[in-house]
């Protein structure tokens, strides 16, 4: 089939913070860049980030990047790669200041500097007192960052393909990635975007779970595209459950609420985090707080008629703090719960939030796969942001480190791509075979007749993932879960669309998103079943302890035979001494 074709130096798939920081770097270096996004750029889910972005500016309390590095390594439960973590924490201050220069309306201190608030898992002096490291624009930091980055891209004249859906990557016989086949949603017509390099920045996969803090569009498309291109996914068993989603609904109440002085109570009004984390209390790492809430509920100390949530208490905070520092959260609580944060308790429960795993990359954003001598980049393929696993978050991400991750590595990837372009000046011959196969994915949905609807399967998948791959896991639950997910995968071939129109056919998009989610679900459950230890967000009741002897390693999952492989954690930083694994207490 002949389809329209466009040619660029670089194709960026995704217009969240990661993609837009990458494209900006490239546009400024005068590369020709196309950014493809399935929604208008400012509707990407980075817009929903609330609390802020970490950098050791030391504007409020003493701080330095090395302490930030220590906290991140510890937060990751020692699964994070220390070279990438050093790189990110060292770069943080410069990057935040650059974002400020781009126009981000950060909240301010009296002396005119950027406002910083305490967040979970932060300490001064390698595990000492609480630090205040999170740079914030009230509780709308993601919105402020995403809009500023889009605005800078307007200024740099980046080429946008808004409301284009990427279907699959194009790969030639030598393993080079040559761009992607995309679908113009408005017309329903496919198009080939040829590029010397492709940067995946498609965000997370929170829609794997029924209750989540993510947007409808967070279906992990980039992860599934990578899998289909033969790239493994790394550490997919580590999915973050945020301690404070609005119970039963999922909207997030940022850690900023606890950073500004809020805390959790059980049905007896007890501030239970004092028992689980005597030092950091409500600002312990997210995995720790989420497990504590789950235990309170399991042991009968939950709140409400069914005892299935706990309360977040903000009513003791000063009116000014609520109005100035947490305005959007308060608005959300009023809209979705109909309660008043200044006087009422807020029902919260751990909610699926962040994909720690993803496409394996090095700290330059290059997608890497293991070879006998170590690792090798896949030529022409980069990944950044929540879809990537670099890995700075390891087994548990610290709040405020993802907004940082996306801009640090978006920028780094942009720079590295500029080098790649210098060495790879010409487009390679197109692989027609690969284009046909991508088009086949689209054509499959033209099949007519009776079959199960997409919506039913998606709901079932989300319910299964929530039940069988949640905060606490064990061998039996995960095995059963894997069976269910594989059965859903089987049924997918019988699914049919009723809507076969071309123009703005959202049903077709949702069908392809569901295929992606299923691939990722299989990867997640398979990886979780294999890891026989508890580390960070992966909590096995049958293996309650961390096992560094056998499991201080990254998981790699391949789609072809559902094969697993492992690779070592990079314990060696770039310049400083390694932080060796030790017991993790808060």
């Amino acid at each position: 089939m002949k389809i329209p074709k466009r040619k660029f130096d670089v194709l960026v798939i995704g217009a969240g913070g990661g993609g837009l920081r990458g494209s900006l770097q490239l546009a400024q270096a005068e590369a020709s860049v196309a950014v493809v996004s399935k929604v208008f750029p400012t509707r990407s889910h980075t817009v929903a980030a609330q609390g802020g972005m970490n950098a050791a500016l030391a504007n409020v309390l003493p701080d330095n990047w090395h302490w930030h590095m220590y906290d991140t390594v510890k937060g990751s439960d020692y699964l994070g790669d220390q070279d990438a973590i050093e790189y990110m924490c060292r770069a943080a201050s410069k990057i935040v200041i650059e974002m400020e220069h781009f126009g981000v309306p950060f909240s301010r201190l009296e002396n005119g500097k950027i406002y910083q608030r305490p967040f979970g898992g932060q300490s001064q002096n390698f595990g000492g007192d609480q630090a205040a490291r999170t740079c914030a624009a009230a509780d709308r930091t993601g919105h402020a960052i995403l809009h500023s980055l889009y605005q800078q891209n307007i200024r740099a004249k980046t080429h946008f393909f808004d409301e284009f859906f990427a279907i699959d990557l194009i790969k030639d016989d030598e393993g080079f990635i040559l761009g992607a086949v995309v679908l113009e949603i408005e017309t329903g017509e496919p198009m080939l975007i040829e590029a010397k390099t492709t940067l995946l920045a498609t965000g997370g996969a929170g829609q794997l779970f029924r209750t989540n803090t993510n947007a409808h569009i967070n279906t992990g498309d980039g992860l599934a595209m990578a899998l289909r291109a033969g790239v493994p996914l790394q550490d997919m068993e580590f999915f973050q459950f945020h301690p404070t989603g609005i119970a039963g609904k999922g909207m997030l109440i940022s850690e900023a609420a606890r950073g500004e002085g809020g805390y959790l109570v059980n049905k007896d009004g007890e501030r239970f985090m004092e028992r689980y984390a005597p030092h950091a209390k409500d600002l312990a790492s997210r995995d720790v707080v989420s497990r504590s809430i789950s235990i309170e509920v399991l042991e009968g100390r939950g709140c409400g008629p069914s005892g299935d949530y706990v309360h977040l208490k903000l009513d003791h905070l000063k009116r000014e703090v609520l109005d100035k520092k947490l305005p959007a959260i308060c608005e959300s609580i009023r809209t979705f719960l109909g309660v008043e944060p200044a006087t009422d308790l807020i029902p919260v429960y751990p909610t699926a939030h962040y994909t720690m795993g993803g496409i394996p990359t090095n700290r330059h954003g290059q997608v890497v796969v293991p070879v006998s001598t170590g690792e090798e980049p896949i030529p022409g393929l980069y990944a950044v942001g929540e879809c990537a696993c670099v890995s700075v978050h390891g087994a548990n991400r610290l709040g405020g480190n993802s907004l940082l991750d996306i801009v640090v590595f978006g920028r780094a990837a942009g720079n590295d791509i500029v080098n790649f372009l210098q060495e790879n000046r010409y487009h390679r011959p197109m692989s027609e075979e690969s284009v046909e196969s991508a088009l086949g994915r689209l054509a499959r949905w033209d099949q007519k007749g009776k079959g199960e609807p997409v919506d039913t399967i998606r709901r079932e998948l989300q319910a299964v993932m929530e039940k069988y791959c949640g905060v606490f896991r064990n061998e039996d639950i995960l095995s059963e879960g894997l069976g269910k997910v594989l059965e859903i995968e089987q049924r997918m071939s019988q699914v049919r669309l009723q809507d076969h129109s071309r123009i703005f056919n959202t049903a077709r998009i949702e069908a392809m998103e569901l295929e992606n989610l299923i691939d990722i679900a299989v990867a997640t459950v398979t990886s979780a079943l294999a890891r026989k230890e508890s580390r960070g967000a992966h909590s096995r009741t049958d293996y309650p302890d961390r096992d560094d002897q056998n499991w201080l390693k990254h998981t790699l999952y391949y789609k072809d035979t559902r094969r697993l492989d492992y690779k070592p954690v990079k314990l060696k930083p770039i310049t400083v001494e390694s932080f060796p694994p030790k017991e993790r207490v808060y």
Binding site: I97, F102, G103, R108, H216, A328, L497, I503
Partner: protein, 230 residues
């Protein structure tokens, strides 16, 4: 509950029509929840939506005659049958989906980015909390388009009048103590149309789901223009 939904698929329908739908749904749910459930039964219904909490700005629609975000509009606040249409004044692509390009064009045209002429310091530009307060009520815009598509001046001059959302953003940068392009920005807005087509009808203020006030921003720009002229 009873709904009347605007339907139009250019591939099969000669012209738009209103479809009656009955749905069993708790009135405490939002309009977006209702649309999602309706789509689960009839997947041909097309509408935009994403975050579900009023920050992405995808799901601007017209509900019982007023522009709003589907995800923030509670069913119980509405009279039945609940009439759902695309936002007015824009070319309709399908069902509830309109072509927003004109709206985005005006946004890009006001140069919605910080402009500085001085060399960059190695630290943050200083801004006092009071200076920063001036951006509250401006930077929160989610580009949903509820305001501009409810503005008669924008319907009549969609190609020339910038519209409330773009002008709010123009003021967001004029009001920013860090920005150094006041003259350029004001010059760009001068003339009979871009700014001055605003007739303070104030629909924009009534519908903005974020509680922002574009009319006030427009007046501030006018005041600043006057001041600069003298």
């Amino acid at each position: 509950m009873k709904f009347r939904i605007h339907r139009f698929n250019p591939e099969t329908d000669a012209k738009p029509y209103m479809q009656d739908v009955e749905l069993d749904i708790e009135p405490s749910k939002m309009v977006r929840d209702a649309l999602i459930r309706i789509k689960a039964k009839d997947e041909t219904l097309a509408f935009r939506h994403s975050c579900g909490e009023g920050v992405c700005g995808s799901d601007a629609i017209n509900v019982n005659g007023t522009n709003a975000l589907g995800c923030l509009t509670r069913l119980s606040s509405l009279q039945e049958p609940i009439e759902i249409r695309p936002v007015p004044g824009m070319p309709i692509i399908r069902d509830l989906i309109v072509d927003m390009e004109q709206f985005y064009h005006h946004y890009r045209a006001v140069k919605p980015y910080l402009i500085r002429h001085d060399p960059e310091p190695e630290v943050e530009y200083r801004q006092t909390p009071q200076q920063r307060d001036k951006l509250d009520g401006l930077y929160e815009c989610i580009l949903c388009g509820c305001c501009s598509t409810s503005c008669p001046s924008f319907w009549w001059n969609p190609d020339k009048f910038r519209g409330p959302a773009a002008l709010l953003q123009a003021w967001r940068f004029l009001a920013d103590s860090r920005d150094q392009a006041t003259d350029e920005r004001l010059r760009e807005l001068d003339g009979p149309y871009r700014l001055f087509r605003c007739h303070t009808i104030m629909n924009c203020v009534t519908v903005c789901p974020k509680g922002l006030n574009p009319t006030k921003a427009i007046n501030e720009i006018k005041k600043l223009m006057l001041k600069e002229m003298i």
